[in-house]
Point group: C2
Chain length 145, copies 2
């Protein structure tokens, strides 16, 4: 059970922007720092802007920056918004063809497990993820503030 690369790259984008808090960064820079696809990151960034986590700044010094403080960006909320959490087809009433749904106890158990998963994620913010900021600045090859 992998996170999709969309979710993975969204988190990497937010981490990068949280680490270089007061400067903008371009998609190209961020993609290069991580060694990931620029085109893929572009789509990820567009959604992050739509979700309100990231702001696009125009002009010569333009680029992306966080639209709110890392403490306000909740990890559970981010992962809910960028990934489909339909674990089995009966989670989704419209697309469900499993004939035992009405009698099967699995859906309730998987939902309870997923709730426990998110209750952990909901207790963390982006600020918790980037606590080791000095090391992250180094690892991303950024200029120290």
């Amino acid at each position: 059970m992998y996170l999709t690369s969309h979710a993975d790259y969204t988190l990497r984008l937010l981490i990068h922007l949280a680490v270089q808090r007061n400067e903008t960064a371009t998609i190209q820079e961020i993609a290069a720092h991580y060694g990931i696809s620029r085109n893929h990151l572009m789509k990820v960034a567009n959604q992050a802007v739509q979700e309100g986590y990231v702001k696009a700044v125009r002009g010569r010094m333009g680029g992306l920056r966080l639209a709110m403080s890392p403490r306000e960006i909740n990890i559970g909320r981010v992962l809910r918004s960028v990934e489909d959490w339909t674990m089995v087809e009966c989670f989704d009433k419209s697309g469900n063809s499993c004939r035992i749904t009405r009698g099967c106890g699995l859906r309730g158990i998987l939902k309870e497990a997923l709730d426990a998963y998110f209750s952990v994620l909901d207790s963390y913010s982006l600020a918790d993820v980037v606590q080791r900021k000095t090391l992250l600045v180094q690892l991303l090859g950024l200029r120290p503030a």
Copy 2:
């Protein structure tokens, strides 16, 4: 984040065998009852036999049956054994190319969330999943015992 169809079909197989506890069932019957691929179910059944959940009975009345009681088959253990729980590449030291791993707090947070997920699954057995046995017998089109 879907369960793989391998995990999904393993659970369906175990549910079917738990419901018709004292009889054997063939792959063909089980696949037909669920309307799923016989070939795919064959691979799933082979692994379930290897893992010790299912027993293949030879002979004229042969087929598959559970190798232990539904109460002894733990849902957390089943899902751990049939699915890869590498949520992000840094869960797997050998295949990890993410350059921020040493400074990033995400791995610890995702692991804590996954532990919470499994602590729920570990508290349920196959017997809990098939509690509504009479209804499941009907839904699977089986003969009442």
